[in-house]
Symmetry: D2
Subunit: 503 residues, 4 copies
């Protein structure tokens, strides 16, 4: 039954007497190799740092590093799709190993001193994960900025806020939009938290408990630009909790945009007519020439739902005995793919918001209809007539019902006095001014001055807070990107010095 | 803000004044276009059938069909990767529309009579889904056959079945394996059920409620090789419940293999030593030369966990208002990808089982240790001495505890009589023969003759039932594949006749 | 560290030297005991059937069964909440064991001959699961009937069907509703399929591979009213795949109702005004007296989302090594709770539909607006003028855009001829009659006569098919309920005969 | 069709003409009312704080507060199960409203001034959520402490760490356990983060955008003991992202314990024999008297899997348009139940670890077998002979294979020199001392001194870090609990002053 192993297939030199079955290549190696583009650059950095650490530990003779480093630098400069990756040999690491051996002969064998395939992969993955988290962070920042801008723009645009999609009370559309911004700032926090997890170095852990080869974990962390080495070698190698954090955060971020998209799809229907999506966010029908479909919103919602499944998958695969590999085999691709998907969705959401056209008149018309001032009226009755709220509520409710019976869409002072007399057998004084003060949407929202409320000033104030948060986010991200770039330059420069020393 | 639309972009001629934003292309069209390889062939068949139906309805003039058909046949013969698909135009349908127009001019416009882009996509997808369901069905059949074979092979291999991974009672390893086969037969049922859903034709539904163009839905179904048209046009166009069925079935199938893999990973550890995986299922470590890792099992388990997330994602995206598209945008890729993944996992599982080496001696040693005959002993005391079971249980438990105290691994008749005397103050007659009859694993399992039980005969009988089910599965699958192939030949032949008529 | 065990705690007589820790009672036994009300009746039946089987096998002496049976019948007649269940002893089975021993002494010990606690639990659970599946089946049947009724009622009520919530083409509201009915019939199929799984008997499997005690599995299955014994003893004892089927089916059923509810929540908004929910489905606000919230719809949607989580949980816990118990510990409660939840949601959905008030005028107004006849117009141009569809589409799209520019909401023959001239440089003949035939919603839908289409006749025909399916469902359910009731009577009667024989 | 409403049913005085349908009570109100025990105390506090805020705003006349406050204090002292909650009236708030009106008459109506039912519920829920997060935090702290203790205890217990459950390299069992502790400290971080979300006050938001009633949100937050008011009123009322955080954190915490439990279930099998669970964590079989089932581990794993479903459910129900209620209807119960479940599981896990008996000899035996020193040997060859690692690896692998062929379980210096000669055609110098230094597990682990590595000193050092983290956690929790208790005392005291003022 022995299958021939391809030349250079590692197993064939270990205790494994045949090559992999085609079913194994297809289900296993091909799966892992699909991550090669994701890991390629990071594997290059990990290899360089490892060689430097071996060199600095006095383990790797300088004549060998002088051969290894140039070859590694050359591979670092090779794009992933120009490198001969091949699932017949296993994962990306295996293909690299074989190619290096092909180029350099046995000196390539030094690279594996004191390090597992897994360690190299984990380093590369964490670097890739950090990049993708920053991309999502950037899209979220744009989303916050777009919302802050539109919230400011519509700080005075009254509308009827709803529950159950039934008109509730007058509010401002800027307030409505600002709430999504507030939620989005928490997604920034989550992404920053997930970044911290990814930013611990798994380098220098040997088999898993450390190594007899004297590798300096602090130095390796510095060379690779991590914030520091993970505190426990087995944990930093195997723990997957940060993956679920990242993907859950991505799913939650997408879900926020989804929720807004779901609202907007309704608001964009002709029956509502509150908003119009920019043409660049729409799609035509091939059958129905009159259609203008808000396609971007469906794209967002579809992706968000799919991401919930991705997050679940991560949580599911976490649940396995320790050090079994299965929780990691799909993880690289799933995490990276999920972060990419979320980034695309959030970026699209930011563009939807930025280019959104809002029909203030349609909003205002709805705000003034459907008795949305009813609760304000009842409150005003409490404040002015000494009625308890429940009684005031009944009075207004009775008046509303009566007005609807007459097909009227607003109340008069008489409606209320009559209702009070009928229901409570009590006479209350209601002026037309009172009714107006509690019916005009603009006057109503002007009084919503509680912290974080819907009055124009509060909405603008909150929009500014969103903007400041976005500025801090931009600053934070820039620092991290700059640090990663500098680290990489330093690593390459240090490696070249090493070669130069020999020459 | 207007973005330039690429030439031939549909929106630009409808009510949409600009091309799509890059964010929309990236998040939406690119996503949809990624399904082009999946849908390419089916779209070709759908186009042909639609042209035939228009022709047969007397709608499409024969001089136009004579131009359209050859072009469509040419595209049908073009591999997907040789066709100029481009996300700038939208999904696969849009690219095809534009290419056909480029080749034929306005005559290409006939193709869209009475049909939406969605209908063509749904037809192509259901055809692709059917194919993938058959592939998974085939892998499952191989899994059942492999299990039936090993069950038969190990119908007499005694082992200690466990609960909580603690030895419970003697059984046969063939019985253990046969149980997985039984479960797998239900997965065959599930796949067949999911196939039935996919096998209803969505062709000829017009916008969604039918069309003023007189298309014959029965004829279209026949031309495309479906079992029949869906009973309600809106339902057959939009309902996604069958997708969740398919992916849930795939996840459940993979989970069965996962469960076996989880067991085998433990049984393959040196501490158990029950089984050895074939070398073609194993992987070496680059650091530790002594290792021989049962890699295939981790691959299976990782994929199964991931599939649970996929199934969840499908269930999640189902939950949306009707006719909104978002539940379908990711669905083609997710369903096809999930079925492919499950097929790879099950095929790998079948190969793991087929090539599994079982150490009968190790199994037998464990079967004879750890007092696995204790319950049989207690039952034998009930059957022979008239003790109630609870008392017999206490007697045996007492004797076991005493033997363990003495570091003995088996019981004697005296142990039991002494325990009965001590615990129950009662004298019972226990012969060495009685102890032996209820301690020897082979004798114990020989008596497990209940229907579906672990005696060798019952195991073989059950294995034969599995084999018969696998044969029926093979037959069912062959018929469906043959029918699909014939249908396609007929469709192409009929289309050619049409052209010939003109010439 | 030894904790005192409560008297009668099983462990204390086995190899376990202390009672359970409070943490174990709280997290484990209390969890299991929470299922006592669910299992109580079935455990009573399982005990009776087991005693009968032991008797018929000649294992249980008649003088003991004469003592056991009356005690078991008495417990069968005791409501669950009147029975002294106590988590200190373990699960429901353990409490029953102890109580029986308290009442009868050692004769109670016969009950455990050849049977595990697990087997009794599984039997009781499958019986409870069958009942709950029938309840959900009944609610679904009512849902189908309500939809069939309203579909018939609104077979002629024209409305504008939508995609992306944008008006698409005229259709009938009865067609829209009938689509949900069609989907619901597949849920009936799923529930019936899940029932078949639950309807296999796990009785008589001994430890798990059968028993040396000669129990007749066919006879046990008959006594308990199952369709037959499971084909493999280990499989029927441990396999959980049917649980996921049941809960996934429940989640899918609830999701269908959710989807309708989501539509209706939009249609019930004043901006749409298509439907009004019955007052008995609504809820008031304590703050806003004018509100009338369609609360039932939110309840449905909330439950459906929750059920997706339940289904996922079942799929997740399936993924575990074999015979480890963890996949079953929460399963009884989760499955029963999920089926109950789904039943409540579907029953509520049925009532929402049955009492729904539809505003035909509002529907008709929307059907006639927004150029919903545009595709029909284009098709009519194809049919009458020989234009290809794409050209006709462009002509109509151009005319629509021009009309909107002029703030007109309908097209004239001139609009089309002018558009054709401008766009195609071609003269086409368009009569007012042609425009009218393709613009009037009622005339449009009258022509949608494709199988399952939206013409009134087709809608009524489909509604009748739904009704017939509902009738078959009712018949199927009645037979199963009658069989269960008869079986139970027979079991009790047979048990009493046994006692009588002795007296 | 009008159904009679129960007296005091709110709807009947609003625009809703009938009572709720039984289906609505069952699926909706009963669901909400099931949260009454959870919310009861917090609703009492919310009511008191609201009355105080109305009083301080000069809205509520002092003679009415003097009547309201004593009644509210009485209800606060009433246990939930002694309060007449009834689903016929709606949720807990509705029952309280009606009962207060029954007791006080119309003066009760003041309580609803400027506040929704929802606001009261949200306050009560966030208070309850905070409590439950602290309970889980406490259980996690105990889990960390137990692991730190056992890690210290087994800092020198060598064992064979594994991957794929195949022996990899010698390590220490304390190192293995410490890794779980490290992961658990991140769960503490997550719970603290979730607490911060719950700790923002939703009080004083009026309908949702603020109120014309001048309520002071800062003061309300202070009265209720929150860290501060939420920054945006609509967001703090409706956002659910913190719920998913909490439940995901709970699921992740449980999953960590699950992973350990999964390992321990294997390690506790007789085939491994590494650990023995305390009797108080085990369960007997009613059939098999020899069994001693590690029941606690199955309980943990079952709960963890179920929690993944709960977390998914939360993510799923998040995905809904804004302000629709459905995302909250199940949330109170699901979040509280999930946190309770996780607390029980983690507490059980802490107790499993604390009472775990580890067999050092069994661990050591395995550590010394299966050539676990192979990688160390290869590394030693690199360090001493100048071989590159790949060549050294091949040499050792060859020697291992040869030794296994001879059924030997250890290597000699000659094995290695011979392998080098055969494989590399090279002579290397290998001393017995070299072989011994790289074969003796204790010597190997002594050299694993990398940060966070498995050497005894490093393990103890890490254990101390865990202990310090646990101490900080305890401090943090105590402060929060003390703050909550003081706040409540102050609130009650302030309320009483108010009453006294009047008297």
């Amino acid at each position: 039954m022995s299958r021939e192993a391809p030349e250079g297939y590692l197993g064939s030199e270990a205790r494994i007497s045949s090559g992999p079955a085609p079913e194994l290549v297809e289900a296993g190696y091909a799966l892992e190799l699909a991550d090669a583009p994701l890991l390629h650059h990071g594997l290059g950095l990990a290899d360089l740092a490892h060689v430097l650490a071996l060199h600095e530990a006095g383990v790797l003779p300088v004549e060998h590093s002088a051969v290894l480093v140039p070859a590694l630098l050359e591979i670092l400069d090779t794009p992933a799709d120009a490198f001969p990756y091949d699932p017949a040999y296993g994962d990306a690491y295996n293909s690299r190993e074989r190619e290096l051996e092909r180029r350099l002969g046995t000196v390539a064998g030094w690279l594996h001193t004191g390090r597992t395939r897994r360690e190299a992969g984990r380093i590369a993955f964490r670097l890739a994960m950090r990049d993708r988290l920053l991309d999502l962070h950037e899209a979220l920042t744009r989303f916050v900025i777009a919302l802050a801008g539109q919230a400011d723009e519509h700080a005075t645009s009254v509308w009827a806020d709803t529950t159950y999609l039934q008109p509730a009370q007058p509010s401002t559309f800027g307030h409505y939009l600002g709430g999504f911004g507030e939620e989005a700032t928490r997604h920034l926090d989550r992404i920053e938290q997930a970044f911290r997890w990814a930013d611990r170095s798994p380098a220098g852990v040997g088999g898993v408990g450390g190594s007899r080869v004297p590798l300096d974990r602090d130095r390796l962390s510095e060379l690779l630009g991590f914030a520091g080495p993970g505190a426990h070698t087995r944990d930093v190698m195997w723990a997957v909790d940060g993956l679920a954090d990242a993907v859950t955060a991505a799913a939650q971020a997408a879900t926020s945009v989804d929720r807004l998209a779901e609202d907007l799809e309704i608001f964009a229907s002709p029956n509502f007519g509150y908003v119009t999506l920019d043409a660049s966010m729409c799609r035509a029908s091939v059958l129905m020439p009159q259609k203008r479909n808000p396609y971007a919103l469906a794209v967002i919602r579809s992706g968000a739902g799919t991401l919930v499944g991705r997050a679940t998958g991560l949580l599911v695969t976490q649940r396995t005995p320790s050090a079994r590999t299965d929780n990691w085999l799909h993880a690289y691709g799933e995490v990276a793919g999920s972060l990419d998907l979320a980034t695309r969705l959030v970026a699209l959401g930011a563009e939807v918001v930025r280019t959104l056209v809002v029909d203030r008149d349609a909003l205002a018309a709805a705000a003034g209809a459907h008795f949305t001032g009813a609760a304000d009226l009842a409150e005003e009755l409490v404040l002015r007539t000494g009625l308890d709220y429940r009684s005031a509520y009944r009075v207004v409710g009775h008046a509303v019902a009566a007005a609807m019976q007459d097909a009227r869409s607003s109340l008069t002072a008489e409606d209320l006095t009559r209702a009070a007399a009928e229901l409570l057998d009590r006479s209350i004084e209601v002026t037309p001014e009172l009714v107006d003060a509690a019916s005009d949407p603009a006057r109503i929202v002007a009084g919503r001055t509680a912290l974080g409320g819907s009055s124009p000033d509060r909405v603008r104030e909150h929009g500014q807070a969103l903007t400041r948060r976005a500025e801090r986010a931009t600053q934070w991200r820039s620092e991290r990107r700059a640090h990663a770039a500098e680290t990489e330059q330093n690593l390459v420069a240090t490696a070249k010095t090493l070669t130069a020393d020999v020459e």
